[in-house]
Symmetry: C2
Subunit: 231 residues, 2 copies
């Protein structure tokens, strides 16, 4: 496990105490995650079958962009260069999205609901282990509280399954692929970013790590059930 | 010239005086215009060569979506159904965007700068002829003041021409095609929407109409010159 990039750059006029590496990493990861979520949802909105659906997905995309801006402002406040903070995560997040481009509207809904919520749960487990209290930690948790609900996806997917029950199998496979690709990229990030991994390893024992993993997968299972899909 | 759709639907609890058809048409046209501009810019952000450029275009897209929301709230306030107001303009705006999909990053910048500003100028000429004072008129004018600047496009396009002067010819042709396609669709809207056309025809004589057209084309010429392109 090697830290591949240099420490964060501090710009002149820094008004905050030098941030720890784990905070910078989580802010950079989340910032680029929000930016790519914005792009993807805005692009997927083109596939929407109705104007209402298009507006719902576009509104989610715009919300992701305002999260992105809030995190960038926090990086500015910490005196950390934005691009520097995001750079280590561009590769893994781009690879994730390239390998999980939705083929149709239903796949994009499942990705918005299942994918974004599982990512948000994972980020939340990390954020809760950041030094507390800190403005960065509070910002990340509040952004995550406002991310990835996509409750309207549940109605749409359930309605589609009612009309044609065979789509449930295809979408369940799709959700499994999303989780698999996400784990692959999370693993890749973990190998490179000691500070982030350290927070989770810092929980002390394997039982505690297993509890985190189980919490995330249990929440995932509940969302799959809400969609009418087998996990 | 026939009005193809029925009058605007008034929902219960209408708090405002029944709006005139020209106001409803302009709000509907602008709302759908902002929604498609959002989609297009967010999609084009994927072609951006740098993270800075991606963020700049994504920020413009998010601003368009907040305009869209403001106009939708005004339609709600007037008791006019949003979809009903937008419906007559979905065909022409979709046709415009389908016939002018940018092939690369520079074409998308020229479209954002040249296309959106010429549309904004055209909408502004109409808005200034709406009954005054009215909240709808003020909202439209303030949204338009905040639309389509894309000043960063000027730097990027000029820099690209400096590196490779031959792109200037291609981009000038592209801009001419944008204007041609926009006029085609504006004409199509004009044939169907008597109320909007009436505002412009209401200026009284051909000289006044020619003055409007000349103002719009003069501003377009100044933008082309700013980009380093021949109009």
């Amino acid at each position: 496990m090697t830290q591949t990039s240099s420490p964060p750059t501090h710009v002149p006029g820094d008004r905050a105490a030098p941030p720890d590496q784990a905070t910078v990493d989580l802010l950079g990861l989340l910032a680029y995650g929000e930016l790519t979520a914005f792009e993807r949802m805005a692009t997927d909105a083109r596939m929407s079958p109705t104007l209402d659906d298009k507006i719902a997905l576009a509104a989610m995309a715009a919300a992701e962009f305002s999260h992105f801006q809030a995190i960038c402002e926090e990086l500015d406040r910490l005196g950390v260069d934005r691009e520097h903070a995001m750079a280590p995560f561009i590769g893994p997040l781009t690879a994730f999205h390239n390998s999980t481009a939705p083929a149709d509207w239903l796949e994009s809904l499942v990705k918005a609901y299942v994918g974004d919520n599982i990512a948000a749960d994972f980020y939340r487990e990390i954020a809760e282990r950041l030094p507390s209290p800190s403005p960065s930690r509070e910002l990340v948790l509040s952004v995550l509280d406002d991310t990835g609900h996509a409750a309207f996806a549940v109605d749409r997917v359930r309605a589609a399954i009612e009309v044609n029950p065979t789509v449930a199998g295809r979408l369940a496979l799709w959700a499994r692929r999303l989780v698999g690709e996400a784990l692959t990229q999370a693993q890749r990030v973990g190998v490179d970013r000691d500070a982030l991994t350290g927070l989770l390893v810092g929980v002390g024992d394997l039982d505690a790590l297993a509890a985190i993993f189980n919490r995330i997968m249990a929440a995932h299972g509940r969302r799959m059930a809400a969609l009418g899909l087998s996990a």
